[in-house]
Symmetry: C2
Subunit: 273 residues, 2 copies
């Protein structure tokens, strides 16, 4: 297995550089990537520090380093371009065609993509996080009319991480309710959720995987028992089918995939912050 | 103000395309962007549907649409390239130089960048989310030795969203403790936090902003009173100074900026998932 050091260099948080670079690197197998993020590189002096670090790595004989950059400032970028490395810059590559397409000069302002400057948008997202926290695991049924999404599913089917991701990434207000034995006895959705079918979405999971997850929490409990997991999953799916609630199987899906699917199926518009 | 429609087209969740596009669009002022994400475009037939949608928009006279694409499959991409739009493809632009640099062919596998296939990494992240939930707002002091970061600060200084973001984005285990009047009386950190100074980090906030936030929660309360906010912030800063805890002022910072700063200052390695 070859090994290669990757640098994500940014004048801001480094999150865009890291996301883009990671997305490309997942396309390569048989290479082990040593990933280093260098955020807040917003002066030529800081860029020189990066250069030194990259040079030391290049000298160490681990192959030519690769630099993913989102540097907005041309002067800072020019310093880094001197690195003894493969230099892939996202900003420069796309900003020229965009300027031409929009017939507008870009502002070349650093640190814009993850700033709190877009204040209403930012506030919206923080409110969504607060909403997810107060409406986690059926904790509150107040203000459910303001929820964009209500997730239902058996305990440990992935509801909480999905709601938090929807809030943080998309500013979506998401509540979640567990489906529990009392719901199966009645074969009805939890009372507060009824009447919100159009924004309710289900998560289900393979009983074997559920058993694994629950065993980590409460080993050898009835809660984690595979037969009980099978029973709960079966009942939950019958209940959702009966109530006309669509669902997704979270077993081999990431929260990003689950969230993107839910938003598409409920036809909720996606914003980025 | 001109208006332009932007499409983020992806064969996966669309999150990479959206992150890249958003980061670039923040560089343009005086243009209003209508942003549409089209995820899971993984067949030529689905790409044709996108074409039709883009054509309709182009015909509507709102200027030439702009397409940000992260399509991995060459055939699907070829369909979309026929769109009457400015076409900026992220994958094609960077995969060739990367293949050359790594002397390896990429796998051209769709939907890799946000999949749960990297199972240990994915599990790690979900565990971090669970950790943040059980260790929010001083709720539990168990297993604090496993925390990567412990945030402290007055109520509503931004601790909870930051911890959740650290967990979801970076798989970092983050706990948080409020600083309350009892702590100010003793002028000591909350008991469970003492002895963890090297991984403790503070959040502070402008008293006027704190007053605004608290007033939304509990209008006209002593809790939200501006003099009380001033008192708490001043005491919290004295306490952190005395205990040698570094802090960041969250007033005009996004959670991304706060998180990136904390990781850099505590010298915690960043992973991407």
């Amino acid at each position: 297995m070859t090994r290669r050091t990757i640098y994500f260099v940014s004048d801001g948080t480094g999150i865009t550089a890291q996301t883009l670079g990671h997305s490309l690197l997942t396309q390569f197998e048989g290479v082990e990537f040593n990933q280093v993020t260098l955020p807040f590189v917003d002066t030529a002096a800081r860029a020189e520090e990066c250069l030194a670090r990259i040079a030391a790595e290049a000298a160490a004989g681990n192959g030519r380093p690769i630099v993913f950059s989102t540097l907005v400032d041309a002067e800072v970028r020019a310093v880094l371009r001197r690195a003894d490395a493969v230099f892939l810059d996202f900003f420069e590559t796309f900003i020229d065609p965009l300027e031409a397409a929009l017939a507008t000069k870009s502002t070349h302002t650093i640190g814009r993509s993850h700033s709190a400057m877009d204040k209403p948008g930012y506030q919206h997202r923080i409110e969504a996080v607060n909403f997810a926290m107060t409406h986690d695991d059926g904790a509150s049924s107040r203000e459910l009319q303001f929820a964009d999404v209500i997730l239902v599913g058996v305990s440990r089917s992935g509801k909480t991480p999905t709601c938090l991701y929807l809030a943080l990434q998309f500013g979506i207000k998401a509540a979640n309710y567990p489906l529990i034995p009392e719901d199966f006895d009645r074969m009805q959705l939890p009372a507060p959720v009824r009447g919100h079918a159009s924004k309710t979405y289900g998560l289900t999971i393979a009983p074997e995987r559920l058993c694994e997850i629950r065993n980590e929490r409460r080993p050898n409990s009835r809660y984690a028992d595979v037969d009980n997991c099978r029973f709960e999953v079966e009942k939950a799916e019958s209940l959702m089918r009966r109530e006309g609630i669509r669902w997704i199987n979270s077993t081999s899906k990431s929260i990003e995939e689950i969230a993107a699917t839910i938003l598409r199926e409920l036809r909720i518009e996606r914003h980025v912050y």
